[in-house]
């Protein structure tokens, strides 16, 4: 894992060095005065050779310093700190939604193989993975926000709620903070704002989760121990939901980890659509402004999150699956 991250820093650094446009030029803006460019170059440390800069870059990274954003002229770390919680909150809620809908749907279709429900479930999941989520989000906005006016268009909290009952920042996660401080007005407002982006985002992995759950349950139901239980005369419900489910849900853990990475990628699109103040939107703004430090900062933070999630998945695996523990991997 450390190796993966290290290689990634090489890649991001390599990309910024071979970039065709000059960061110093971007820093001073168009039509620089004579000498200004050299000064900026020195200020940004661009006058040193590449390998020295890489060591400095790596040193700064380990201290959590991602450099200064060319767009906002603020340290990227400060910017990301501000946006980190919003993204994590959104992605986590989206994952929970896709698990809550996906797992029961997968189980249901697994027990009714080749039925109408199963077939329509399959077509639904084929369609689900084919929907461009940025477009889906816009369609939701068009119908539910702008058309029917049921849900807010964008943002994380209404401006008047933000002013009248501000959320005290404890953890940075709006939902948790407003809940802990008993700020119900804000809590409700945040939930309402979250519905559309979270549902849009959950679409990215919902179909995937349904599919894996279904095939895993079907496989488990053919296992010897299930046949034994049937021969023993145990009730169908007991077999299915107590004995089969336990093993059937093991692959879902992996899928949840993968989905997290997937939805993190989706957040770049969804946050952009719903104007969600998270890292994905920051990344987008950095892209359209050629802000390399911003882009690389988000890239690395996303990578670290994914690695952490993968590690957690491995640990959970070892915890729930004795086979993994015995094999020692």
């Amino acid at each position: 894992m450390v190796v993966v991250l290290w290689v990634l820093t090489m890649v991001t650094f390599f990309l910024t060095t071979i970039a065709p446009s000059d960061p110093a030029g971007l820093w001073v803006g168009p039509r620089p005065k004579p000498g200004q460019l050299e000064k900026a170059r020195k200020q940004l440390g661009l006058d040193k050779p590449a390998h020295v800069r890489y060591v400095i870059y790596l040193k700064n990274l380990t201290r959590g310093d991602f450099g200064v954003s060319i767009r906002t002229r603020q340290p990227v770390t400060e910017e990301l700190k501000r946006y980190f919680a919003a993204t994590i909150e959104l992605v986590t809620v989206a994952i929970i939604i896709s698990l809550i809908i996906g797992i029961p749907l997968g189980i249901y279709t697994a027990f009714r193989r080749e039925s109408l429900a199963d077939h329509s479930g399959r077509i639904f999941s084929l369609m689900g993975v084919a929907v461009p989520i940025f477009w889906l989000g816009m369609m939701f906005q068009l119908t539910l926000s702008s058309g029917l006016k049921i849900l807010p268009l964008q943002g994380q909290i209404s401006s008047y709620v933000f002013l009248t009952s501000p959320v005290k920042s404890i953890t940075g996660f709006y939902l948790i903070d407003s809940l802990v401080t008993g700020n119900w007005v804000a809590f409700k407002d945040i939930i309402i704002h979250m519905i559309l982006p979270a549902i849009t985002l959950s679409f990215a992995s919902l179909a995937f989760i349904v599919r894996i759950t279904r095939s895993s349950m079907i496989e488990v139901m053919t296992a010897d121990y299930i046949r034994t239980a049937k021969a023993y005369g145990l009730g169908n419900k007991l077999i299915r939901y107590k004995y089969a489910l336990k093993n059937g849900l093991i692959p879902v853990v992996t899928v949840t980890g993968l989905s997290y990475a997937y939805e993190l990628g989706g957040s770049i699109l969804v946050e952009n659509i719903f104007d969600w103040p998270g890292m994905g939107r920051f990344l987008w703004l950095s892209i359209i402004n050629n802000d390399y430090p911003g882009i690389m900062g988000v890239t690395i933070v996303f990578a670290v999150i994914c690695c952490t999630i993968n590690l957690m998945v491995d640990l959970v695996y070892a915890l729930i699956d004795p086979k993994v523990r015995i094999a020692g991997t």
């Binding site: 190796v3 890649v11 065709p20 993975v129 816009m138 989706g266 770049i268 950095s286 996303f302």
Partner: protein, 296 residues
């Protein structure tokens, strides 16, 4: 002497029988047939776009400000956008762009992934170990992340869009093919070939590829759809198409300031993406069922 033509006859008969059985399996799979049908229409639309499109110039840079943001009508089947360009014509031309990009990404990824997967699976050992670690590294990140980093640095163009996605795509093929090769490698016929001293390269080319490529082909047809989706997503956030290019993701992004009041500007390009990706999903999923003996 008479036995020889007879033998050839029966071999031919067996071959035609197998083909007939295969066609029967395809014909029986309704979703696959549906996919084939829509797929044929999409390919036709891409091939004949200049002749079908009512306003071919609108896809390449014409501007008609007096006809801007008109709703769907008999003249403009899908309405017009903020430059008065016919959306139907642009969607048609977008088919060309998306199909060629999708094929490009998958082709590059396949060309890189095929030999690496064969090597990793067949020879195993340290080379396998190293390749798998590299693949794991690639696969544990969001697909769009590295292409965005690359695009952010090199500026957005369709070429960067395609190469960026191909770079993150090939590890999937390596992993998938390796798994298949590991199974095929242990088959009796491979052992037999080895025991009579057939060279490794010959075994790989003659036996291993033919017997482990099936699932990879399924993945290829699914990936054509996903690659198109990913490429459109990248174009949407500004890495890829440049004005006045008619590309679906970019059309949606361009129409963002207007879509609240002019729904047709984003709806149709999005539907085009959806339909295309869905079609490749149908084909891939159907192919999996056709090739898998368990479902027969």
């Amino acid at each position: 002497m008479e036995a020889v033509p007879q033998k050839a006859d029966s071999r031919l008969a067996r071959k035609t029988e197998r083909i007939a059985y295969f066609l029967y399996l395809i014909g029986r799979n309704r979703l696959f047939m549906l996919g084939l049908g829509i797929g044929a229409i999409i390919v036709m639309a891409a091939l004949f776009a200049p002749w079908i499109a009512p306003y071919p110039g609108d896809a390449t840079g014409d501007i008609n400000m007096q006809a801007k943001l008109k709703p769907p009508s008999s003249q403009h089947f899908m309405g017009t956008d903020h430059f008065g360009r016919d959306i139907f014509s642009r969607v048609l031309y977008g088919t060309r762009k998306s199909l060629s990009i999708g094929i490009g990404i998958v082709l590059i990824a396949f060309i890189i992934g095929l030999p690496l997967g064969l090597i990793a699976g067949y020879y195993g050992g340290r080379i396998d170990e190293i390749l798998m670690r590299i693949c794991d590294g690639f696969l544990s990140f969001p697909v769009l992340l590295l292409p965005i980093a690359i695009g952010g640095v090199f500026g957005g163009s369709m070429k960067v869009n395609m190469i960026g996605l191909a770079i993150v795509w090939w590890p999937w093929y390596v992993r998938l093919l390796r798994g298949q090769v590991l199974i095929t490698r242990e088959q009796a016929y491979v052992m037999a070939a080895k025991s009579i001293g057939v060279k490794n390269t010959t075994i790989i080319l003659r036996h291993i590829i033919a017997n482990s490529i099936g699932p990879v082909l399924v993945q290829v047809s699914l990936d054509l759809g996903y690659a198109i989706l990913a490429s459109a997503s990248l174009s949407f956030i500004g890495i890829g198409a440049k004005p006045p290019m008619a590309e679906w993701g970019f059309m949606i992004s361009e129409a963002r300031p207007y879509f609240m009041n002019f729904w047709w500007t984003t709806t149709f390009p999005g539907l085009a993406i959806f339909l295309t990706v869905f079609t490749f999903n149908l084909l891939g999923d159907g192919l999996r069922e056709i090739l898998d003996p368990k479902t027969r």
